[in-house]
């Protein structure tokens, strides 16, 4: 499979993606694209299909129809190379999902050593580097349960960064956090964006989306209703987005 | 070698199987009554009663059933108390079952939610009334799946009675084999009969557990 990553091709693109869970149609013709270095925010109500769309990008859900291309690879096809895909794509979950029986350092070095066959000392140095990036160097030998929610999420981001992905996916990464802890995580994400990481994030943080997203995709009932720069939040055109923005669904 | 497996052999095995069921029932009923007493003793307000019953359970659970059997059959005979194999097997199994069922039932009683105990106390019921009317009915529901599961253990454990000469299924198999000299065939058949007795109970116990919504690990015992 030829890898076509010229500047003109989007690094992630979804075209008319369909997905159903039994009788429930969750994605009904979803299309959008993400350019290299772009930050895309997907917003919408619960049940709008936004998390499902994100998970489809990293093949955590199989699509029933349509095309998804990531870094030149067709993800919707059955013979997709998952190992290669997931080295290019990093994903951070709402419930952090750190491995509780491993220290933070071991959490981070596990994949580089096992997948990329990195030497242990090299991996440890990498762990120190990414932890410094998220501001958690002193927690390197702690266990996840000794960290606060915000710290665990930052550690989870560091863990994904250690694999040096080309795209980072964030699935409502602050929704499970107490309000005073979301700030530290958002700051890390902001810095990543400033450093040029391509990102797709599903989020409820409207203010944050408005400030760092290059483009916003609004989904409703499995369809993309509006997409555009952050200004669509202040000047929505479709009635669904008007209603969504007006009902306090998003945190300012 | 010997002859072939004929209808007489099968009838003999069937007879043994009946005695297996009989011995299991003796152990279940005897052990059940004693186990109930032990369960209550384990949660008695009297410390000495609690300690004694706990010691009993630890003792029995820490000793192989075979040793208990030998103690009952050979050991007691050596100090003047001779028993038939049936009596020795029945007594040993009863002691064994009492300890395990006692623990299962104690656990079930203690699993009845605390608010129930408090509500019963609040209604000024005496301790006996509390147990009989509020706690035990609920404990019985909780206890049913593991008890049914333990019945499988009882049936399997009756096979040890063969060692002291009681003619249940295992012993009948050994006797049949002594005339046929086809050990693998005979014991495979024995295994099938045990399976036919135990598997339905296992399934039933699992179904009960699912219906209770509790995914408890049952009380496991290999023998």
């Amino acid at each position: 499979m030829q890898q076509n990553t010229s500047p003109a091709t989007p690094i992630v693109s979804l075209r008319d993606v369909q997905k159903s869970f039994g009788p429930l149609k969750v994605l009904d013709g979803v299309s959008f694209a993400v350019e290299r270095g772009e930050v895309l925010a997907i917003i919408g109500r619960s049940g709008s299909g936004k998390s499902t769309a994100l998970r489809c990008i990293d093949r955590f859900e199989k699509v029933d129809g349509g095309e998804i291309t990531v870094c030149g690879r067709r993800v919707d096809l059955p013979d997709v190379d998952l190992r290669a895909l997931r080295q290019d794509v990093g994903i951070v979950f709402q419930s952090y999902n750190l491995f509780p029986h491993l220290t933070i350092e071991q959490n981070i070095t596990l994949a580089p050593c096992s997948v990329k066959r990195m030497g242990l000392s090299e991996a440890k140095a990498l762990a120190r580097k990414v932890l410094a990036q998220v501001g958690l160097e002193e927690k390197i030998h702690a266990y996840p349960e000794q960290l606060s929610g915000g710290q665990q999420q930052r550690a989870a981001i560091a863990r994904s960064l250690a694999m040096q992905p080309k795209v980072m996916l964030f699935d409502e990464v602050t929704s499970a956090l107490d309000p005073e802890l979301t700030g530290e995580v958002l700051k890390v994400i902001e810095q990543l964006a400033a450093d040029g990481m391509t990102m797709v994030m599903v989020t409820h943080e409207m203010g944050f989306a408005r400030s760092i997203a290059d483009r916003i995709v609004f989904m409703h009932r499995g369809k993309v209703h509006e997409t555009g720069p952050a200004s669509i939040l202040t000047a929505p055109t479709t009635p669904e987005l008007v209603q969504f923005v007006g009902t306090g669904n998003l945190k300012s | 070698m010997g002859g072939h497996l004929n209808i007489n052999h099968l009838l003999f095995l069937g007879h043994g199987a009946l005695w297996t069921i009989g011995l299991s029932l003796i152990a279940l009923i005897g052990g059940g009554i004693a186990g109930f007493v032990i369960a209550l003793a384990r949660i008695s307000p009297l410390r000495s009663v609690r300690l004694l019953s706990a010691a009993y359970v630890q003792l029995i659970q820490g000793t192989p059933l075979l040793v208990i059997l030998f103690l009952g059959y050979f050991g007691l005979a050596a100090i003047g108390l001779k028993m038939s194999p049936l009596a020795a097997a029945g007594a040993s199994l009863t002691l064994y079952v009492a300890a395990y069922l006692g623990e299962i039932w104690r656990g079930s009683i203690q699993s009845v939610p605390k608010p129930q105990w408090e509500a019963a106390e609040g209604l000024a019921l005496s301790r006996t009334q509390r147990m009989m009317k509020v706690i035990l009915p609920q404990a019985i529901r909780i206890a049913t799946p593991p008890t049914v599961g333990f019945m499988v253990q009882i049936i399997k454990n009756t096979s040890l009675a063969s060692v002291v000469g009681f003619v249940e299924l295992m012993r009948s198999g050994q006797i049949v084999n002594n005339s046929l000299f086809e050990p693998f065939v005979v014991y495979a058949l024995i295994a099938l009969v045990y399976f036919a007795m135990c598997y339905p109970l296992s399934l039933f116990s699992q179904r009960l557990e699912r219906r209770m919504g509790r995914g408890r690990a049952d009380f496991l015992a290999p023998a």
Binding site: F60, L82, A84, R86, G90, I91, N97, L98, F99, P100, H101, L110, A111, S114, V115, Y143, E145, Q146, R159, S160, M163 | Q58, G62, T63, P64, L66, V67, I68, F70, L71, F74, G75, L76, A78, I79, G80, V152, K156, N157, S159, L160, S162, V163, M170, P183, F184, Y187, I190, A191, Y194, F195, C198, Y199, S202, G215, A217, L220, A221, P222, A223
Partner: protein, 227 residues
């Protein structure tokens, strides 16, 4: 009528008892290690997508759990003899005990596997770890830690159940007891002593497992918390 007990006469046979106890522990140790391996493989097999392997593992587990150990031992004993294998009583005993405890271990491990939150497996998949790597690094050790008390109890029960191996002439503790009581005519005292010895062996095994737990689970050792 007084009952005359003569413990000293039996206690002077302590070298025999010691030999039997050591053999019992050896039986238990071999069967524990091999059975743990077998049980883990069977538990993994239960969860596999291959319907044939999953079925075979289920049949194995149910067959063992619904038949008595005594019957299994005889089947292994005569089965091995019928294919011409002349093995020592010890080896046959270990084989039968391994097969037996493997089935119970499989059930315990399966419960442990199922308790691992789906999110952690997804996170591991997101990091491009292979199925085997996920089992090894993410599922296996935490599952063992979670079910460790049940595993410990199971293996102690195995040691007690090894008494049945006396029936195929394995010279473990119960066989020694049978021999000594027929020699001394002091059956009561002999079996009482042996019962006490088994209780001591149980305590020894539990202590051993507790120590092993300290080695296997560094997080627990450091933090003192359960998963």
């Amino acid at each position: 009528m007084g009952i005359e007990l003569d413990f000293p006469a039996v206690l002077e046979r302590w070298p025999n008892f010691l030999g039997g106890a050591i053999l019992t522990l050896e039986l238990a140790l071999f069967a524990t290690v091999l059975g743990a391996l077998l049980g883990t493989f069977a538990a993994v097999g239960r969860g596999t997508h291959n319907a044939l392997i999953a079925r075979a593992c289920k049949v194995y587990v149910e067959a063992i759990r619904n038949t008595p150990l005594l019957v299994q031992i005889f089947l292994v004993y005569f089965g091995l003899a019928s294919v011409g294998l002349k093995l020592s009583a010890f080896t046959v005993a270990v084989a039968a005990l391994t097969i037996n405890v493997g089935a119970y271990t499989a059930e315990i491990m399966r419960a442990g596997f199922e308790a691992i939150p789906r999110g952690q497996i997804e996170a591991a998949e997101g990091l491009a770890l292979s199925r085997v790597q996920i089992y090894w690094h993410i599922i296996l050790l935490p599952a063992v830690e979670r079910v460790y008390p049940a595993l410990t109890s199971q293996f102690v029960l195995l040691m007690l159940a090894s008494s049945v191996c006396s029936q195929i002439s394995t010279e473990e503790l119960t066989a020694v007891a049978n021999y000594i009581q027929s020699d001394t005519y002091r059956a009561f005292e002999t079996y009482i002593i042996v019962a006490v010895l088994y209780i001591i062996l149980s305590l020894v095994m539990r202590a051993g497992f507790w120590g092993l737990g300290l080695v296997l689970f560094p997080r627990r050792r450091r933090l003192g918390t359960a998963l």
